[in-house]
């Protein structure tokens, strides 16, 4: 057997809310391999890696590096041991150049001052050595997501990382960028680097990795050589049962228009034009998906339609009424409901109970008043009912929602947003970071709502989700609609990638079909 460069033994981690994220987990990697760490959202992959990188501390267990026990108290220590991490959300300073970002914290000096030229040289050398092509002088803010990721990888390597942890690196990439990343990672492997690749996309694991460790519900389920197992095998290990991953849906029956968005332009606070002449409409009974790499204007669209953002040009009409003139409450009363992409900030109030979180859009209505006070019985009844209908796993409606897992929190959000009788449902990244069971539940709910006559706007960075759930499809690139497909089932992932990257762009006439 090959030597373990690193092993984590019997790791247990409990979060302050009582959630057991890891339970007696064992994880070890060989030198010079690409090792996949897979598991559902919430299985404990990120937690395990955070402990390896020193941003969380294990409650039990030990970490061995080259056979010697080490204490990794913070990321600086981890970097000292040659462990580098590339987070899903990049830790870069956008206003600085690539070279600045690479040497940040270890700047080369000349005469006591920052030596820009030396920094750029370091960047250039590293870029060549590792075959990760980036321009040292470019400002990070101007880079695409794929390039930013390269900068992150370089940053870890420049700091002497021998073990590289990549947390779902492909989640933000197009198929083309993913291919490029894999070539680069394989190149690193030939140079003797060790890579931990966190993912839940199994075909990527098959393609790239040597071995795979599967986590489920915070435990190690198994370690296998990738060549010995099929995608189905891994999937079964991850979920513990066979899950139906397809969605039951009939062809959409389009009715009258609910949402009409016309010629939206928006310049953000940094002076960048983030939306360029965006127009589309959604009729009742249809799910319109918006695909695209994150940060290409999707969030802005959702903010504008939901009434959270009013500094834009153009018109938004919901049920024939101008949305700009309405407060958020008026919009909601006019039939809009909204799942925000940022669940913790907008979706819930963490210290509030589950019941309090479920009534935030309707507590003021007459049916919940009893004299001068709130009708607690009625609210309790509603909460119990929704907990059951949406299958929320909890200790009861009075439990603070922050104690729930991500998937269950999102079910509470959905329980509120899906039961307000809305005509338009904006679902922005509705299944981000939640387990497969909860994701499938929510996707099927969206289809159910569509069949009930709602118009659904689904924004998702998860390509397979947006392609499978949507009836019609818009692709956004750089604040612009780059493609519109009347029938989402006819599109290929490859094609989508090209439109997402902005390498292809439909003619204006084709895109105009989105708004009629």
């Amino acid at each position: 057997m090959e030597a373990n460069i690193l092993s984590m033994e019997n790791i247990t981690k409990v979060y302050p809310n009582g959630f057991v994220a890891n339970k007696n987990v064992n994880f070890s990697i060989h030198e010079g391999e690409i090792h996949a760490l897979v598991g559902e959202n919430g299985a404990g992959k990120s937690t395990l890696m955070k402990m390896l990188f020193g941003s969380e501390k294990p409650d039990e267990g030990r970490i061995l590096l080259h056979g010697k026990e080490v204490q990794i108290d913070n990321p600086t220590v981890a970097i000292g041991y040659g462990i580098g991490m590339v987070h899903q959300h990049f830790m870069l300073v956008p206003s600085l150049s690539v070279a600045d970002n690479l040497v940040i914290g270890m700047e080369p000096k000349k005469g006591g001052l920052y030596d820009v030229e030396r920094a750029e040289e370091i960047a250039r050398e590293a870029s060549e050595k590792y075959n990760l092509k980036v321009d040292p002088k470019a400002r990070v803010v101007d880079l695409s997501v794929g390039l930013k990721q390269k900068v992150e990888i370089l940053k870890a390597l420049v700091r002497g990382a021998k073990i590289l942890i990549l947390d779902e690196p492909t989640a933000v990439l197009t198929p083309q960028e993913t291919k490029e990343l894999f070539i680069e990672l394989k190149h690193l492997k030939t140079q003797g680097y060790t890579v931990v690749f966190i993912s839940h996309k199994l075909h990527e694991v098959k393609e790239l990795c040597d071995r795979v460790t599967v986590l489920r519900a915070g435990r190690t389920i198994g370690v296998e050589s990738v060549e010995n197992v099929s995608e189905q095998d891994i999937s079964r290990m991850m979920v513990g049962r066979d899950v139906r991953l397809d969605i039951d849906k009939e062809k959409a029956q389009a009715k009258d228009t609910v949402l009409r968005v016309s010629h939206i332009n928006k310049v953000n606070a940094l002076g960048k034009q983030v939306l360029k002449d965006v127009s589309f409409q959604i009729p009742r009974g249809v799910i319109l998906g918006i695909a695209g790499v994150e940060g290409n204007g999707q969030s802005e669209i959702s903010e504008i339609i939901s009434g959270m953002d009013r500094s834009f040009e153009g018109e938004v009409e919901v049920n024939g009424k101008n949305a700009r003139e309405m407060t958020v409450r008026q919009l909601r009363e006019n039939g809009v409901s909204h799942i925000s992409e940022d669940r913790m900030t907008y979706g819930i109030v963490g210290d509030g109970s589950i019941a309090e979180n479920m009534i935030s859009d309707r507590y003021y209505k007459k049916e919940f008043q009893k004299g001068l006070l709130l009708d607690e019985k009625k609210i309790a009844g509603l909460a119990d009912d929704l907990i059951e209908k949406f299958n929320v796993k909890c200790d009861g409606k009075d439990q603070p929602i922050r104690m729930l897992s991500g998937g269950n929190m999102q079910k509470v959000v959905a329980a509120r947003e899906f039961t307000s009788g809305a005509d338009l449902i904006i679902a922005n990244q509705p299944t981000r970071g939640i387990d497969i069971g909860a994701s499938m539940f929510l996707r099927n709910k969206l289809v159910e709502l569509r069949d009930g006559g709602a118009a659904v706007l689904l924004i998702s960075a998860d390509l397979s989700e947006v392609m499978e759930v949507s009836d019609r499809l818009i692709v956004m690139s750089n604040g612009r609609i780059s493609a519109y497909f009347e029938d989402a089932s006819e599109v290929t992932e490859e094609d989508m990638g090209l439109y997402m990257l902005g390498l292809k762009q439909m003619e204006p006439e084709e895109i105009r079909r989105a708004s009629c």
Binding site: F19, I348, V349, G350, L372, M403
Partner: protein, 358 residues
């Protein structure tokens, strides 16, 4: 035991421990400066129960705290650090004094008008930081302290120049009209009917904050303002309302205090009632439910320190040191964190094993 219960348990434990440590600190200080520490301590602990008069003192001390404390619960639940309750209390007392001395009305009605005037003055004081925040994003922490200063000098100006009784022999207003005074309730104790109003305010405040839709709005805004906005709550309206009502209660507290305890307005400086309200508010975690206990505790310590000062060589300031220690320990969120986390880990593991065994 689940995490929720452990959290609750530790909140109580933390408060009790904070009180315990503060008492220990007080005893140590007493041992150092007192010639006869045991007697001093016993006077401090048991003195307040020594006579009817002293028990009455506890209640009269506690009375204004109920008003201000309830106001603080409302304001701070909306996550607004508006300390103008201090100034609000002062101008409330001042304006009530003006109405008492300058207006003549029948008994009862006169008192009611005084309380209303006091409340409005208090609301006005708290409205300034509220407005400045909503309109210009000025931090209430800073602006409210300035407002307190303004309140003091406006109040002193009015007392000095408008309702001063030159014949009083000291700086004080005219005597309050008998029609406006709040009568003593239990003779020989100083306890006046204000305590009943205070209890009504407390209960009303509890229902408003914890059981009504307006209270739901206040708490939601205070816990997560972005979520409140997303849900369609008009955040600025809610925080303004919370501060107006909170200020009204503080001002009314000032009115009740002067009309129940004094014959003239004779404050020369801010009275610290506002900060007392903030302290007991913190101890009660801004929940009116726990407020009476916190107020009783503070009042008891105050009277105890007073007893101690009279009969021994330890000054009354000791009580304030104790209270400060308690508040600091309570706001120290990570205090006992490790112990709590260990309990949670153990409980979670046990639960997991229980589930697997089943």
């Amino acid at each position: 035991m689940n995490t929720k219960n452990i959290e609750k348990q530790f909140q109580v434990l933390r408060t009790l421990l904070a009180i315990g440590i503060a008492i220990a600190v007080a005893f140590i200080i007493i041992c150092f400066i007192s010639e006869n520490p045991l007697e001093t301590i016993s006077e401090f602990v048991l003195g307040p129960l020594g006579s009817k008069r002293k028990i009455g003192n506890i209640i009269t001390n506690l009375t204004p705290m109920l008003f201000v404390g309830t106001g603080v619960c409302l304001i701070f639940s909306a996550n607004q650090t508006n300390m103008a309750v201090e100034g609000g209390f002062f101008v409330g007392a001042m304006l009530a004094s003006v109405v008492s001395t300058c207006v003549s009305l029948p008994t009862g009605l006169h008192t009611a008008l005084c309380l209303l005037a006091g409340g409005l003055a208090g609301a006005a004081a708290c409205a300034i930081p509220a407005f400045l925040f909503v309109r210009y994003q000025a931090k209430p922490v800073v602006s409210s302290i300035m407002v307190n200063n303004m309140c003091l000098y406006v109040g002193l100006f009015v007392i000095n120049h408008l309702i001063r009784d030159p014949g009083a022999g000291f700086l004080a207003s005219w005597r309050f009209a008998e029609t406006s005074r709040i009568e003593e309730m239990i003779p020989g104790t100083g306890i006046h009917y204000g305590i009943l109003i205070g209890i009504a305010v407390l209960i009303g405040g509890y229902l408003y904050l914890n059981k009504s839709k307006a209270g739901y709005e206040i708490r939601t805004v205070g816990r997560n303002v972005d979520f409140a906005r997303y849900s369609g709550i008009q955040v600025n309206k809610v925080i303004t309302k919370a501060q107006l009502i909170g200020g009204f209660l503080a001002g009314m507290g000032g009115a009740v205090e002067v009309l129940g305890m004094y014959k003239r307005f004779q404050y020369q400086a801010l009275t610290n009632h506002g900060f007392d309200g903030i302290m007991i508010g913190i101890m009660a975690a801004y929940n009116p439910k726990a407020l009476p206990l916190a107020a009783l505790f503070l009042a008891y310590i105050r009277v105890g320190a007073d007893c101690m000062q009279r009969s021994s060589d330890v000054p009354v300031e000791l009580a304030n040191i104790m209270i400060s220690v308690i508040v600091i320990m309570i706001v120290a969120e990570r205090f006992l964190y490790k112990m709590k986390h260990k309990r949670i880990v153990a409980a979670a593991q046990k639960e997991l094993e229980g589930k697997e065994a089943a």
